[in-house]
């Protein structure tokens, strides 16, 4: 479902205000300026308070992840700034590689998350871009109502499809494997992906494709040589959105891998240890930031695509 984001309209510096208004402005200017600066000062204060409120929780756990087990238990994280000499990376070492009270190294689950996410992004992108091309540029009977059906299926919450799928995968012998996750993530991603990529492909001028058709190019060649390069930004947006969706997913993983923790993604393990490790914050904090690191890196370096993909996929799930 697209939350359409209108493009910001650039300011026009040349626009001149009518004279009468300019005069009015002069009359009221001093009173106005006082009001504006007051409101903007309160406004800035409110904004800063909000920014602090929003960042403190994450910051607190981040600081904690660099403190020793004893320090964490003895004093609150805000005391860490007086103990800069005691900061350590050993929590990350124990969380990632095992050790301390940690019997299950996060490193294993980190790898699982990568192994799950890469094909779960690649497969829906491939399928959806091919299908979007067909819906946009190949004429075939029933095309329009099929597309509407695909679009409408976005309303199906994945909860409603999970159980039969999991049963099915167990039946055919891929229950609890990566295959079960790849296939289910693909099925759940497709309605949105087809819809988004179709919208993007429809924007491409038909003359471009017709010219290629007249030259006798096959659909395959047009798709690969003309369209694919043009829709790369859309593929990137959706790809990043899907990658983070899969990386952050818990429900599908729990359902499909319930009995096979060895294939669990990092979120599933984090959920697990947040119960079993209870108050061992030296491990929990480091484990949390190991799992968060990937989305944060993606967010920082690909913010534009990420935000665009996220706005487009707001209601997925």
């Amino acid at each position: 479902m697209t939350a359409a984001t209108p493009l910001p309209v650039p300011a026009d510096p040349a626009s001149e205000a009518p004279v009468t208004r300019a005069e009015k402005r002069k009359k009221r200017s001093s009173a106005n300026r006082a009001a504006t600066s007051l409101s903007s000062r309160t406004g800035s204060l409110v904004a800063i308070i909000m920014a602090v409120l929003w960042t403190t929780p994450t910051f607190g756990l981040l600081v904690t992840s660099f403190r020793t087990q004893a320090d964490i238990q003895d004093t609150g994280w805000w005391n860490a700034f007086g103990q800069l000499d005691r900061w350590t990376l050993s929590n990350y070492d124990m969380a990632f590689n095992g050790g301390g009270d940690n019997a299950t190294p996060m490193g294993d689950f980190f790898i699982n998350s990568i192994v799950i996410a890469v094909p779960a992004v690649f497969l829906p992108l491939l399928l959806a871009s091919l299908a979007a091309y067909a819906f946009a540029w190949i004429k075939f009977p029933g095309r329009d109502w099929l597309f509407v059906a695909v679009f409408a299926l976005q309303i199906v919450p994945l909860q409603i499809a999970l159980l039969p799928l999991a049963t099915w995968f167990t039946r055919v012998g891929i229950g609890g494997t990566f295959w079960a996750l790849w296939l289910s993530h693909t099925a759940f991603a497709l309605p949105l992906a087809v819809y988004l990529l179709h919208n993007f492909m429809k924007e491409i001028p038909p003359s471009l494709l017709e010219a290629a058709r007249v030259d006798g190019a096959s659909h395959m060649r047009i798709f690969l040589q003309v369209l694919l390069p043009l829709i790369t930004p859309a593929l990137a947006s959706f790809g990043i959105f899907q990658f983070l969706w899969v990386w952050n997913d818990l429900l599908v993983a729990l359902t499909m891998l319930g009995g096979s923790p060895e294939n669990a993604p990092i979120t599933m393990e984090l959920n697990q240890i947040s119960g079993t490790l209870g108050n061992r914050w030296y491990l929990l904090s480091a484990a949390a930031f190991i799992s968060i690191s990937v989305p944060v890196v993606v967010f920082v370096f690909m913010q534009r695509y990420f935000v665009r993909g996220l706005l487009a996929g707001g209601t997925k799930g």
Binding site: A3, P105, S218, G275, L311
Partner: protein, 341 residues
């Protein structure tokens, strides 16, 4: 500081990456094969064969992975029995047809009415407050110095998994039950700092639900802020300039110019967050699993289907979620159509 030397089993990792590349190769081979076969068709059927090759796999996936399982779940909701079986209801001894019994259980099962009430609080509070905070922040930082960084700070929770977000907040809420024990959680440290007894934020009913709701608001405000900020920037400058020249104050400007201009974006944001809230199960799951009178529908679906082995009831809950989400999405789509027209 010790270096992070990877001691994760290398052979194990290699075999997992091997599976991944095998998977990628299989997927690629299948589709190249389909496309090659389709390209062999000539003449009258060529176009149709191409259409099937291009659109067929995706449609097949959606039909088998989404549509058919959804129909099975609807069927399952009318049957009793312990385990989910594809043959349920087809004369299978394990399951028998019980009509609307599972739906009746929605309000007769102890604990479930409470789940509905909790879900109602979530759906009322999360969209309204997340949108409110997001809008406030978007207005305040608009055209301010360092706007991009300021927005990134609020948006960041959106990138984190809900499990990670819950863990971050569990630490804020952390409660040391030992009398006189050190409170290392920020909130309880503040409470004890001013002489108030520490509080078990995530344990003590009935307020624990509301402290979980705070987490979802924290996550969703960034989404609201981003969409609404874009909408605010799309308001033509001359309108704002004209209002300012007429001596309109900041608050009046917001009330009479900004708010009406971003009305449709506001509706999209509210409905989108409402849908996300109805479907979110991770926060409750990662907090208590819904065992402390703090469950919501999406979590109860999981718990009834897998933990307590009542798939019929789980199916009924999934259908309720579906029925609650559908009108919001339909409304959302109609709104967006109106917008584009």
């Amino acid at each position: 500081m010790p270096a992070l030397a990877p001691t994760v089993s290398a052979a194990d990792a290699a075999s997992k990456f091997g599976t991944m590349f095998l998977g990628l190769a299989v997927f690629a081979a299948v589709f190249i094969g389909i496309l090659l076969i389709a390209s062999l068709f000539r003449g009258k059927y060529a176009e149709k064969a191409q259409a099937v090759a291009f659109a067929g796999p995706a449609i097949l996936f959606i039909a088998l992975g989404l549509l058919y399982p959804a129909i099975l779940t609807i069927q399952r909701s009318f049957y009793s029995g312990k385990f989910f079986d594809l043959n349920a209801g087809l004369g299978n001894a394990k399951a028998k047809f019980v009509g609307f019994d599972n739906f009746q259980k929605l309000w007769t099962t102890p604990g479930l009415p409470e789940v509905f009430l909790n879900t109602l609080w979530w759906v009322l509070l999360v969209p309204s407050l997340a949108t409110g905070f997001g809008l406030l922040y978007a207005v305040l930082v608009d055209k301010a110095k360092g706007e991009a960084v300021a927005k990134a700070l609020i948006f960041l929770p959106m990138a984190i998994s809900m499990v990670g977000a819950t863990l971050i907040w569990k630490f804020v809420y952390y409660f040391n039950g030992e009398p006189g024990g050190v409170q290392i959680g920020l909130l309880n440290a503040m409470l004890t700092g001013v002489g108030i007894n520490p509080h078990d934020f995530l344990g003590a009913f009935p307020w624990n639900t509301f402290f979980l709701i705070v987490i979802m608001i924290w996550i969703q405000a960034g989404f609201a802020m981003t969409v609404l900020s874009a909408a605010i920037k799309a308001i033509p400058d001359d309108i704002i300039e004209a209002a300012r020249l007429d001596g309109v104050s900041g608050i009046q400007l917001f009330r009479y110019v900004t708010l009406p201009s971003i009305r449709s974006s506001l509706i999209v944001v509210l409905t989108t967050i409402a849908i996300a809230t109805l479907k979110a199960f991770d926060i409750v799951q990662a907090s208590s699993g819904g065992t402390l009178h703090d469950s919501v529908l999406a979590n109860e679906f999981y718990r009834r289907s897998f933990v307590t082995q009542e798939p019929g009831l789980g199916a009924a809950i999934a259908i309720v979620i579906f029925l609650l989400v559908t009108p919001i999405i339909v409304f959302n789509v109609i709104q967006m159509r109106k917008d584009q027209a």
